[in-house]
């Protein structure tokens, strides 16, 4: 009897110990990211699936892109960032100049790094330390509202001359409040960048000298190109945009109704722009439009967002397990789908082959196939970008000439670049 009771107690203790051990390994994690609704939904599903698989609980912290950098900066400064952090590739030098900003992913065996090419791993490294893993390759591409062009009886443009002609027809047939294109703030900056890159074959920053590669005349040409598109009514003016409170394109009623019929956006954001369109309208990714005399496609292509593990995480191993699940394991891959573009991970790319929205795939194929110089992360440095956009605004309001704006941009950019010498 005594022996029986002893055995019972022993079994109970063993079971309790096992339960406690199981609980101890279950971590409570946080993951932060930016994105649109479709990405939020997909990521939450993926976190649920991966959490259930590995026995962890992951709380999602998500916002739109606006304000994410500020939020992350504050968290990084206070050491309170989430365990898994989505980081924009150009921000890597800001948060981890010497490779100590995030956990070294090579020291976390749970992440199967063999799924990425050496180029991908290098792009996520600073000072030789792997700080973030590339989720996908992304680039700016053209989206046009096919329905609007069909309504006006013109084909979707394949070059800028066709876009000019289509603008005229659209306005005549559908009304003056119809625009063939959109370029505000960052998009305006990248459109000018595209025009200059196509013409010169050079990126903004010359990696050899760490200074602006363009001459003031070349840049002024790009600014005038933007000015011309506004002048012919292809793009709404900066003033008109400000009058409406600088609302995001995908939130504008004019976009939803097809009255703004095109834009130049990240390939992975196709759903963000296609979802708000009113029923029956089709958004189509289009190969790079060229300006006259272009020497390259001038594609603005870069590693997409990275996923990093916080160096302050109490459970870096658990965070690494979830990161690996999101990018390399069926549960994560299936749930995420193409919400962050077509994945860089080989196993994920294989699993999703032929899946996902054909438009996202088509947009990504355009970006991957297009040619262009290697772009510098400094294109998106907050100070350089702010100087660029402010100068374009002054030009748009007629405060300065294209030449002065070009000089202002070059001087401001060189000042920032000099700090990184």
């Amino acid at each position: 009897m005594k022996l029986k009771r002893f055995a019972g107690v022993l079994t109970g203790t063993a079971l309790a110990t096992m339960t406690i051990a199981q609980t101890a390994s279950a971590a409570e994690l946080r993951m932060s990211w930016w994105g649109g609704d479709s990405r939020h939904v997909a990521t939450q599903k993926a976190l649920e699936a991966c959490g259930a698989k590995h026995g962890h609980t992951i709380k999602g912290e998500f916002t739109g892109f606006d304000g994410y950098l500020e939020k992350l900066t504050t968290q990084m400064a206070g050491g309170t960032e989430a365990d898994i952090v989505q980081v924009n590739w150009p921000w890597l030098p800001l948060f981890s100049r010497d490779g100590t900003g995030f956990a070294d992913l090579r020291k976390l065996p749970a992440v199967d790094l063999s799924q990425w090419s050496e180029t991908d791993l290098n792009s996520g490294s600073t000072n030789g330390v792997l700080q973030g893993i590339s989720v996908s390759t992304t680039g700016r591409t053209f989206f046009f509202n096919q329905t609007t062009f069909e309504k006006a009886g013109v084909p979707v443009p394949t070059n800028w001359a066709e876009l000019e002609a289509a603008t005229k027809t659209l306005k005549e047939k559908l009304g003056d409040d119809y625009y063939t294109f959109n370029a505000v703030k960052e998009t305006a900056q990248l459109l000018v960048t595209l025009a200059v890159t196509q013409k010169t074959g050079k990126d903004l920053v010359d990696p050899a000298t760490n200074r602006v590669a363009w001459t003031p005349e070349e840049l002024a040409g790009g600014i005038n190109f933007l000015g011309h598109l506004v002048e012919i009514g292809a793009i709404r003016s900066q003033k008109a945009e400000a009058s409406d409170g600088n609302v995001n394109l995908f939130e504008k009623p004019a976009w939803a109704e097809g009255k703004i019929a095109g834009s130049y956006e990240w390939d992975s954001t196709y759903s963000k722009y296609a979802d708000p369109l009113k029923d029956g309208q089709v958004l189509k990714p289009v190969p790079m439009l060229h300006i006259e005399g272009s020497v390259t496609d001038g594609v603005y292509r870069k590693p997409s967002m990275l996923l990093s593990v916080s160096k302050n995480s109490k459970n870096p191993e658990a965070a690494a397990q979830i990161l690996n699940c999101l990018l390399n394991e069926p549960e994560g891959i299936d749930a995420l789908g193409t919400s962050r573009g077509l994945p860089s991970s080989k196993i994920a790319a294989e699993r999703l082959a032929g899946q996902g929205e054909p438009e996202v795939r088509a947009a990504n194929e355009i970006v991957v196939a297009a040619a262009g110089p290697m772009i510098s992360p400094f294109n998106e440095h907050p100070e350089i970008r702010s100087n660029f956009i402010d100068s374009l605004e002054e030009f748009a309001y007629g405060q300065i000439s294209a030449e002065d704006a070009a000089q202002q941009i070059i001087d401001g950019t060189n000042d920032v670049l000099a700090e990184f010498d």
Partner: protein, 325 residues
């Protein structure tokens, strides 16, 4: 008679007991006072702690940081007066932002105070449903600072928004509220003025506390309503006007939500108030040292203007019992 029969030894003992009782009472009182003092400190502790952690330490730290180059990610590097030198000699954005901020404050504060006083004077009358109206006018101040209201404001004043639609109905051409640099600051000012409720409530309380006999005396003397307002109401309200002036001025200098959500400081930086500039430098450009220097200059401006207001108050603020005529 009984005391005469008391024995001397007993009287001594009674006196000792009385002394002991008194001492015990005094000691209990002291203990109670000590306890009360401790209780008082305990009540104050959360506030003092909050003040230290969230105000005093950042306040002192920002003063130190204003003399450094600090990008949030690496250690601050001492640069002496370099930030202030740049601020006052080479920074065109600061000049512009300072000018916009001063314009905003000098527009907003008088407008808001005048409007708050006007509404408070109306709400001081005995009207039907007066409590409903008082609540209705106060509600915007509760909602006013929120992001949602700023977003609503953006839609209302958009080129095809509610305000322009209303103007069109009465035959007035639409106004470019946000796109025109000359109008954008005024539109932001309107949002601030709309939040007049807190100043209004204080004015209303002050109006209700004015002795009615003064009005009765003025009525007997045949004073007109305008004369009564300027000779009785306004002078007696000056302490409250002064209080509201200081509070509203400090708040106006710190305005952030409205321009951040609605105009992002544009167009052409026409609504780029100093708090926005501080925010951009600190959290978008990672120049925390420089941002701290701007914050301290802003603090200095608020301090100087507050001192000027206090100094001038001797000439125009009348307190009860004041001998000035």
């Amino acid at each position: 008679m009984r005391s005469a029969t008391r024995r001397p030894g007993l009287e001594v003992s009674l006196a000792r007991i009385r002394i002991l009782l008194r001492r015990a009472a005094a000691s209990r009182k002291g203990l109670r006072m000590k306890r009360q003092r401790f209780l008082g400190l305990a009540y104050l502790a959360p506030y003092i702690l909050g003040l230290l952690v969230f105000t005093m330490i950042p306040f002192i730290a920002s003063f130190y940081l204003s003399f450094t180059k600090y990008d949030l990610m690496s250690e601050p590097r001492w640069t002496g007066l370099a930030n202030y030198e740049k601020l006052f000699t080479r920074d065109r954005t600061f000049d512009k932002s300072l000018w916009v901020t001063l314009t905003y404050v000098f527009l907003t504060v008088p407008l808001k105070l005048a409007f708050a006083l006007f509404i408070a004077a109306i709400l001081n009358y005995k009207l039907k449903f007066i409590n409903f109206f008082r609540t209705a006018f106060y509600v915007p101040s509760i909602l006013g600072g929120s992001i949602a209201i700023a977003v609503l404001w953006r839609y209302m004043f958009a080129s095809e928004g509610l305000v322009n639609m209303a103007l069109a109905m009465v035959g007035i051409n639409p106004v470019d509220w946000f796109g025109d640099p000359g109008n954008a600051l005024f539109t932001i000012t309107l949002l601030r003025c709309w939040q007049f409720g807190s100043a209004m409530v204080i004015f209303l309380a002050a109006l209700q506390s004015i002795d009615k006999s003064l009005y009765e005396a003025a009525a007997i003397d045949g004073a007109s309503k305008t004369r009564v307002f300027f000779s009785i109401t306004l002078p007696l309200l000056t302490p409250v006007i002064f209080f509201n002036l200081i509070m509203q001025m400090v708040q106006a200098f710190q305005e952030f939500n409205g321009p951040y959500i609605i105009t992002q400081g544009g167009p052409l930086k026409s609504t780029y108030l100093l708090p926005l500039y501080i925010y951009d430098e600190a959290f978008k450009k990672f120049n925390m040292g420089y941002a701290s220097a701007i914050a301290w200059v802003l603090f200095g401006i608020i301090m100087v203007l507050t001192l000027v207001a206090f100094w001038s108050s001797k000439k125009w603020v009348y307190y009860a019992g004041d001998k000035r005529s």
